[in-house]
Symmetry: C2
Subunit: 434 residues, 2 copies
């Protein structure tokens, strides 16, 4: 019997369609792997194995693009019949949700089966949940979509859904050595998904390779905005290696990795040049922070009044910070964001995509925090498609990634370029699945 935990989700669904196995067998394999690894990795907030098996056995969709594919769902996204706890003590006794989020409903409609809810940091902000990095359990898996990243990384599920407001898809994906993809802002509905940060909240996906991430994104994107079948990028891409204003926060190993990647991609035929963002981008991190703090205070202010003592020091500090921001400063930040977004395609000039670090380096050796999102901040603020692919291991033996960024709504091309990079920067992940 094939080890289903090593397969991509396209391979799993193809096997179901071709009757080489069925959804029940796939789910059994996923649950077996979860049973084995969950004590170490702790990726799941809610998991009812009997219910997951029942749903897999009852599944009649044997023809869909995701037929029989088990998926994990970040626990700030509603799935009917499962509680949504937002990683918060305030919602520890939440009742099962009545509705399934539009994004997840689309996956189910394509044949996928939700295994359970994956661990999130508290309210998708900084205070860590219980998840550990599958590559080394003393290291953070990153956040906030930590259970989604970790569960895919160790083969519990071939795909998962998360969200990003700053660096919550790209960072944990990079730290856990999987592909993470944040489509353009708005391409995926945030229906029945916690969205305190309407200017910044993106729903995104985790998978083992770019083609799988593209299929998940194509399924959840509204209106066919991303095609399910990827077209190969037609020529070697024109890439800019972008260091961003926070370059001094990158570790030497990450700087070297970007340089190595640039060299390898050049050797493969790409035109790769160094590129500096215009000076106004020096303000982008402050702008993002203003919006995130202000919108958080607006959304969670009433909850904080009632439950401050059941909320973490991190989130209380953010809400206090936001409550002190004047509305005109918030509106000014929104105005600047609008200008950044309007100008970005021009800023990219002739480049097909930017390549840039997804994180400062390997996942830090701590479970007390989730690492630094700063290399994701600008691309989240811009609302542009961003994807990270695993490209190697660092000195601690943990993964390093490469982030590829495209123009707004140019998601298909960005995915195609990421697939091109993936092909020319092969990195074997078989080590983990031993």
């Amino acid at each position: 019997m094939e080890d289903l935990s090593r397969l991509t989700l396209r391979e799993i669904a193809a096997g179901v369609r071709e009757k080489r196995w069925d959804a029940a067998r796939v789910m059994r394999a996923a649950l077996h792997r979860i049973e084995t690894l969950e004590p170490k990795v702790r990726a799941w907030e809610h998991l009812d194995a009997a219910s997951a098996m029942d749903r897999a056995e009852a599944s009649k969709n044997t023809a869909g693009p995701l037929a029989g594919v088990p998926i994990g769902v970040k626990d700030i996204i509603d799935v009917a019949g499962m509680p949504t706890k937002f990683g918060s003590r305030v919602y520890a006794d939440a009742k099962p949700a009545k509705e399934t989020a539009q994004s997840i409903q689309a996956l189910e409609n394509a044949g996928a089966i939700v295994v359970g809810k994956t661990v999130t940091t508290e309210f998708a902000y900084y205070s860590p949940g219980k998840t550990r990095n599958p590559w080394n359990e003393t290291h953070t898996p990153g956040g906030s979509s930590q259970g989604s990243a970790a569960s895919v990384a160790c083969g519990m599920v071939p795909g998962a859904v998360g969200t990003q407001t700053n660096g919550s898809v790209i960072r944990p994906a990079a730290f856990c050595g999987v592909v993470g993809f944040k489509p353009s802002l708005g391409l995926v509905s945030n229906h029945a998904t916690m969205d305190p940060w309407p200017t910044l909240d993106h729903t995104g996906v985790f998978a083992r390779n770019v083609a799988d991430a593209a299929l998940l994104a194509a399924t959840i994107a509204q209106n066919g905005a991303i095609a399910a079948e990827m077209k190969p990028f037609e020529r070697p891409p024109r890439l800019a290696a972008v260091r961003t204003p926070v370059w001094d926060q990158a570790e030497a190993v990450q700087r070297d990795m970007l340089a190595q990647n640039a060299t390898a991609l050049k050797q493969a035929g790409a035109d790769v040049r160094d590129f500096d963002l215009p000076a106004e981008y020096n303000d982008a991190h402050r702008v993002q922070r203003t919006i995130m703090a202000f919108e958080a205070a607006r959304h969670f202010g009433a909850l904080q009044k009632q439950h401050r003592d059941r909320m973490s020091a991190q989130i209380n500090a953010l809400l206090d910070e936001g409550a002190a921001i004047a509305e005109r400063d918030y509106k000014d930040a929104l105005g600047k964001t609008g200008n950044f977004r309007k100008e970005f395609s021009r800023v990219m000039g002739d480049y097909d995509a930017f390549i840039t670090p997804p994180a400062p380096g390997e996942a830090p050796a701590t479970l007390e925090q989730t690492g630094n999102p700063t290399f994701c901040t600008i691309w989240t603020l811009l609302g542009v498609p961003a994807i990270t692919i695993p490209v190697g291991l660092g000195p601690a033996g943990l993964p390093l990634g490469l982030q590829i960024v495209g123009r707004a709504r140019d998601d298909e091309r960005t995915l195609a370029i990421a697939a091109w990079c993936e092909r020319h920067l092969p990195f074997s992940r078989d080590k983990l699945n031993a």
Copy 2:
């Protein structure tokens, strides 16, 4: 002094930018017109004139694309500081909302000023609010976005925001003789907007002409999906006149109007042909109904248990209908919807757009119901851009419209074609503003 109530929103904003008038003077004019006409039209659910004047006087955005433009917001969309009552007795005592919906925030950021909340039918379904058709107060303005359509129609505001789940933007716009535009599904965020129907809920806009509707839509669309400046359509368009499976519900006057429009557009150079949808579209209305009833029951079921006696017979019947639908029938309907959406671009073949009636005819002479949405149902289910422009008056002296439908995410082209049609089907609305 110019009569600001006759100006388009682009003209109003240009006047503010060029200092020919300021936001306060514009707001004063709007409030004056509201004071005059509101006793007859009843478009507003919440209006605090002093607060609107204060906000206009405090406005410092004199350079934005919507500088000083007063707008109305359908009362299922949150605006901070104003209650959201959903047209429901259950929420008659609602407190002011804390957050402003992302769509409305984008308008404010561009300089627009929210005058107040416009009347909606109960939960955006069929039970009418108090609004009357400005062309004849014994006729319905349509629904559900009835206050938004009526307030624009009689010059209270030059633009307004509404939503459509079946025919709730296009129908009232047609009945009230204004332009109504429903962008592609998902192009506008439904953040802080009632969205019980995630498969169907579109946020849309009302304005006096296509260029104004395009500017509003460009402002609220995420990610620059619609450009603020319209490009003229480059050549006479290839149009299909589509009668749809519900053609027998169209009144003679509406059938004749479509034929007249087709002739006039042909004379202007367009290639216009009759076109029948494939047979499977005969099932589209049933599919939409299944989804609407099922999702309504799922979303409002708990509320109904508690408040059945404060909910209308219409909404109770819908919820009872939905509660009786088996989940497999709902999923089957979603699957069919997915196929419709996937195939529609191919169905459109070489045509640039479809033209089709927005409604069965003039607004019915009743205030007991809001008229028939059936000519909008298919295009809502498909999630494609749809726009109605006023093209003439019927025998009762009320407006008739022409609906233009495009491919998913082809909003800019659809708007450009609508502007082309508007130019070649001129219809003066000065009668009303007398």
